[in-house]
């Protein structure tokens, strides 16, 4: 008798507990959905909808006010791809990305490798050599514009003092492109060194010591042990560096305005000029260029996720 009451009670308690757990789970889910709404609303309005809108705009004509004016199919893309200027812009953009990425990798390694030795004062050197990170694109560009100015600019005043002649760093087709590359590499070197320091720091010391015991010198250890072990990070720097270089804007806008004679106009600067440049508001054309940029960034991102995920997870 009493045993069956206890059993009944136990069943009742258990079922109440199950139902309360279920309702608790349900309310937990409701809260979860509510907490996701802000983030996904922002992405919907400012990332995914604009992407769709840009793809739609890329197939629209443009009236004199820059507004969309009717479906034109692939006309904007035909305009772009048959324009010899566009071919030149894409080649320039590619050369810019290659030069910036190569500069970052080579200088980054040349600076980081000595920083991984056990010399006295290394923390100070590390802090100093990563410090360019704090300078914004805008501040770096105006400072370099001042340094590279003709006449009284610092670099030219030194050149002329030692008997050279004034170099038009920012105003000649011969120099402007290289100047923008140098400023961009400088601006990204601090971050590159920080990333590489992290990668070298993560190498197991036992591996290095084992190599030493086996008679490998420092250069041999670096080449055969350390560098292969940091390749995932090097690869990360290459891909994200390429995307960053591809989307460079501030340096070009401030240093050269895309000139002289378009010699520093890249794909992104071309988007800006087509949509917002003086007297040429053509949102359809700008959107088509934006779609080209999206496809390039997408390809680079897929390479990154494909390769990096495999490497990092072994």
């Amino acid at each position: 008798m009493s045993a069956s009451i206890t059993a009944e009670r136990r069943v009742a308690v258990a079922s109440r507990r199950v139902s309360s757990t279920q309702s608790w789970l349900r309310s937990d889910r409701r809260v979860g959905v509510a907490l996701l709404v802000p983030a996904f609303a922002v992405f919907a309005v400012f990332v995914f909808y604009p992407l769709g809108k840009v793809i739609w705009l890329s197939m629209q004509g443009t009236d004199i006010f820059g507004q969309a004016a009717g479906f034109v199919g692939a006309k904007n893309f035909v305009t772009i791809f048959t324009d010899p200027q566009f071919g030149a812009t894409m080649l320039r953009t590619g050369a810019f990305c290659l030069a910036v990425v190569a500069g970052r990798i080579v200088l980054g390694l040349l600076i980081t490798i000595p920083l991984t030795t056990k010399l006295r004062g290394i923390p100070v050197f590390r802090a100093l050599l990563t410090s360019p990170m704090v300078v914004s694109v805008s501040a770096a560009s105006v400072a370099f514009a001042a340094m590279l100015a003709p006449g009284n600019g610092l670099v030219n005043s030194v050149i002329t003092r030692f008997g050279g002649s004034d170099i038009p760093f920012l105003t000649s087709t011969q120099w402007a492109f290289a100047s923008v590359i140098v400023v961009t590499v400088w601006g990204s070197i601090g971050f590159t060194v920080l990333l590489l320091l992290g990668a070298f720091g993560a190498i197991d010391n036992d591996v290095i010591e084992a190599a030493h015991l086996d008679g490998a010198g420092p250069l041999r250890t670096l080449w055969s042990i350390s560098l292969p072990l940091v390749t995932p990070t090097l690869f990360f720097v290459v891909v994200t560096g390429a995307v960053e270089a591809l989307t460079t804007f501030g340096q070009i806008q401030i240093l050269t305005g895309g000139g002289p004679a378009n010699s520093t106009t890249t794909l992104v600067y071309n988007i800006y000029q087509s949509a917002f440049g003086a007297g040429s508001a053509n949102f359809g054309l700008a959107a088509a260029l934006g779609v080209v940029l999206f496809l390039l960034v997408l390809a680079l991102s897929l390479v990154q996720f494909g390769v990096l995920e495999k490497r990092v997870n072994y």
Binding site: V31, A39, V42, F48, L57, S136, F144, A145, N152
Partner: protein
């Protein structure tokens, strides 16, 4: 011998890498006439605040500083709050389809802002927000990277502990504030610093959506200062120094957190 060579190399690297930063800070406090001397101008012996004062007379730098500060605070606070909320939901709330949501987040990182800004410009202008402070930060109040970093940190928090706290009657907000966030403090600090620096340093988008000098951010302001006063190097460098100094100070104060946060983002 070898360490001497390494020191020479490192010192040379410091001179090359840090020179522009030195030039900005020294030039900001040095009269243009002395800077114009070339090499001699690099010796800081005529220090003055005159450049800074004249810079504020050319453009409304104080006002622009305020705009940048407002943009940075709003963007950072919202990005962190929205990031914590989304990561909490993804990690703890046993939602169905989190994998799909995660893929949506991943894919949003593959869409460059330089592609979407044409459409975002049209959106902001249809909301009549062009030339206002909200226009500058609204598109960036959620960041996929911040959500990722918070998610990564939350994953190490034991789920049973959270269930126990909630069954004991703690609300979601109370749990997040007094149990979760103290545990993930390093991530909280580094995400805050990284998003604040990005907000403060923005250039392309603020340039597009503002147009009157009073509504510009300070980054756009100093670019226009450099354009207007190109030959007055001291004034130009004073502008550059004023936007750099706040970041420099924050980074010096919090270097270890910043380094950890950035590499966590890179190696996610």
């Amino acid at each position: 011998m070898r360490s001497a060579l390494l020191y020479v190399w490192l010192v040379a690297a410091v001179i090359v890498v840090c020179f522009p930063l030195y030039y900005i800070l020294e030039g900001a406090l040095t009269p243009t006439a002395w800077l114009d001397q070339g090499l001699e101008g690099l010796v800081p012996i005529h220090l003055t605040l005159d450049n800074v004062i004249r810079a504020t007379q050319v453009i409304p730098l104080g006002r622009q500083f305020g705009n940048s500060l407002a943009v940075t605070v709003c963007q950072t606070v919202l990005q962190v709050a929205i990031g914590i909320a989304a990561a909490y939901a993804l990690v703890f709330c046993r939602l169905r389809g989190t994998r799909a949501l995660f893929l949506v987040l991943l894919s949003s990182m593959m869409i460059p802002a330089e592609t979407t800004l044409i459409a975002n410009y049209l959106t902001i202008s249809s909301w009549h927000l062009i030339d206002t402070v909200p226009a500058v930060f609204l598109p960036f109040v959620a960041s996929a990277l911040s959500i990722f970093l918070f998610r990564q940190a939350f994953l190490s928090f034991p789920g049973e502990l959270r269930d126990a706290a909630l069954l004991d009657g703690a609300g979601h907000f109370r749990f997040i504030r007094s149990m979760l966030l103290p545990v993930v403090r390093p991530t909280l600090i580094s995400v805050t610093l990284v998003s604040a620096t990005a907000a403060w340093n923005g250039f392309f988008w603020p340039l597009l959506v503002t147009n009157s000098p009073d509504n510009r951010t300070v980054q756009v302001g100093i670019a226009q200062l450099s354009n207007a006063e190109a030959t007055d190097i001291g004034v130009v460098l004073a502008g550059a120094a004023m936007v750099t100094l706040p970041v420099l100070i924050v980074v010096l104060l919090a270097q270890r957190f910043l380094a950890g946060g950035i590499t966590a983002g890179a190696l996610k």
